[in-house]
Symmetry: C2
Subunit: 491 residues, 2 copies
Amino acid sequence: MSKGLPKRSENYSEWYNELVKRADLAENSAVRGCMVIKPYGYSIWEKMQRALDDMFKETGHTNAYFPLFVPKSLFEAEEKNAEGFAKECAVVTHYRLKSDPNNPGKLMVDPEAKLEEELVVRPTSEAIIWSTYKNWIQSHRDLPILINQWANVVRWEMRTRMFLRTAEFLWQEGHTAHATENEAMDETKQMLDVYATFVEEWMSVPVIKGFKSANERFAGADETLCIEAMMQDGKALQAGTSHFLGQNFAKAFDVKFQNKEGKLEHVWGTSWGVSTRLMGALIMAHSDDNGLVLPPKLAPIHVVIVPIYKGDEDLEAIKAVIMPIIKELKSYGITVKFDDNDAYRPGWKFAEYELKGVPVRMAIGMRDLQSGQVEVARRDTLTKETRPLEGIVTYIKDLLDEIQKAIYQKAFNFRQENMFKVDSWAAFEEQIEKGGFLLCHWDGTSETEEKIKELTKATIRCIPLDAVEETGTCVYSGKPSNKRVVFARAY
Amino acid sequence: MSKGLPKRSENYSEWYNELVKRADLAENSAVRGCMVIKPYGYSIWEKMQRALDDMFKETGHTNAYFPLFVPKSLFEAEEKNAEGFAKECAVVTHYRLKSDPNNPGKLMVDPEAKLEEELVVRPTSEAIIWSTYKNWIQSHRDLPILINQWANVVRWEMRTRMFLRTAEFLWQEGHTAHATENEAMDETKQMLDVYATFVEEWMSVPVIKGFKSANERFAGADETLCIEAMMQDGKALQAGTSHFLGQNFAKAFDVKFQNKEGKLEHVWGTSWGVSTRLMGALIMAHSDDNGLVLPPKLAPIHVVIVPIYKGDEDLEAIKAVIMPIIKELKSYGITVKFDDNDAYRPGWKFAEYELKGVPVRMAIGMRDLQSGQVEVARRDTLTKETRPLEGIVTYIKDLLDEIQKAIYQKAFNFRQENMFKVDSWAAFEEQIEKGGFLLCHWDGTSETEEKIKELTKATIRCIPLDAVEETGTCVYSGKPSNKRVVFARAY
Ligand SMILES: [Zn+2]
Ligand SMILES: [Zn+2]
């Protein structure tokens, strides 16, 4: 009864693409590299947004909105940032279309409506936001500024994949301004912790927190902190980043404040973001050859109930017992779908809800009714058991909590089994082909990192915050090193 | 203690602009015609979004997301729609910047990165969405499709004003597809009712529901329904529109379905939207020369409490009494700010919270404490009274409900006083200069409508749904007419 998904073991990449489409999460659009996020996929994203937004507000942030467009002259002000994004900028050059005199019924760009200054569609908003903060900040009393924005951004990527890398994507970007370096660094770390908590507790995906190497840093940041997750093919996925911007944007946009002693200083900044890429992480971390596996906290439907019946009389008997149970489940915030659509057979429905990743399925027929029982199936383990109807609500409530944890534990165990201390170059080359995270000594140079990438496509995913100090030698160059970093191939 | 706002009676337009800025709602940005929505303004918009989103979901809609860009060839497919928006389209023509060889440190558009087909930044999403629906709809079983999108859109307006008319704005756009004409028309009307309910019950702004005349219809629609509100200067503001698209987009994008009889038919469509323009309506409908007046349901802060004290001991005594009250208020979902910031004097704070439109202010000093009382000030009426602390929570709860209604009633009375039946052209010309809604007979022709607009800048705001049938003659042409329509100058 599987919907004929490709198998992960045979073609992981094709399995992912097909799953995204068949589970109604997203599809490619008529615009190169841009996707349509379908209702079922979007409802998962909405749950992510709500949870993250609550966490941002609990940590003192408020939302605001800044323009989609960045005038070129502002965009280029912070040189490293500009250089980092210049190659993937969509640029608005005209503000009008007109009838094409050579093609009746068609339009053409009106050459007379050329903008004096081109507008970059924001690939990220530091430039437009810091040019605004300049007017908001005079004194230490104006600080900190703790703002988040939910928005769309555009990065013209050449090779795109739904959710993982798309020309347009949805995200949130926090942009904060502080009076001191320490405060900005604390904010950078705090928001990394918020992301880690969200990804682990809501998405059930374990992450490693760490610093990016200079090569992988955000263009314009002094430090980039990140969380890295392992997908089921052993590749890494960067699930969120939090940047310590130092005074770079404050200097580029001349944002100064009068400190308590009356002296002018440049402001310290941070920025941090997660995007619809998290949808890709969620899908690839847990799902199986039957379809999606969703942690209950992010599942649009928690429980589906499929009645198994012959005629209206049977259905009414089932409903009489089930409806009060549904009502009680709903009172606990549990989303229930009762599917008595008779255009489809139960087996078809079972496969469909497996594909959609509904965490718990209940099936009840006339014999169950007589014996006061119900069949309960778990999506994550694909196991079934028969349970008494008596006490079923408490059982389901606990089961959803258990599933949330079990999915995390499974992903955690998988990651532990696929992290390897690697101490020789031969072992590195062998292991990287098999996948997983390689914990290796590294000599700290960009040259070595680049060489390793060239040879194996592996990059340094992060220098873990909790890396243990130990003496060792770089896995590639043999030079001395005092801690291990995480190498992997990545999405 | 007013923050020196211009007076409405002296310069309504300047009053509005200054209020938007000083109340920290929004400001102009570095991008022509685009605004920055500041945290305080955005938090009101968030409350609007949440309420509307709940109403959309209760009426069976789900959210999704479609691309920001529309390829020119799709954009031009529905000719009337394309023609209507062509003159205000921002167009992306290139996808890369490069270093400018003549300006070190500067960037330029890379001429080699010209798109084969230009991309229009969506001014509205019918084209991209109907090109997608084509693939989603084969059978009557695929209908209806009931989707909403929260998004930014761009319309290159020449004269812009914060919230009312900006090049980029935030909105929601519903796009539905139906098997029958009746069902689509019912949806069109249902969503107009949802908007009317929201604007009246949440924003406390009374509206007139009606049809647009052909001249004012959405480009590509067969009918446009709208809600029209009256601002304090007597001008009209269109607060929301719901369009019956007929089969226009289905035909342009060849979207057909097999009906129950197995025959192919074109699909029927609707679209409907409200935008950050509602913020402008909210501000202009209620606010006064002291600042914002917000209906409690949309106020980011419901109650501000200002302690009046000399030293820490006083403050502690006040807190001991007030903190349990705050806790109880919060348990009812009431948002309370306790402002004991000693950098500002109470009088300054009073003016500040008046400017920000906080519905209720409580002030409490040592004498109040001793007599078990508190001063309660209403923002809408600017009245104060002394109330016993005993039972204050219930009192405040009821007071917020009363304010919500009182604000509506005030706006309703104002509108009633400024609606006039006008039956001669001389009276029309005289009244239109004074403002208000003019209820007039109209001969039903575009020529008359255009002539009246040319002479007076007044347009037909709507043909009310509840217009009474009566015989009369057109206020301009003298030709026969069977009902009155609403003429006004409009934002
Ligand atoms: Zn400077
Ligand atoms: Zn057709």
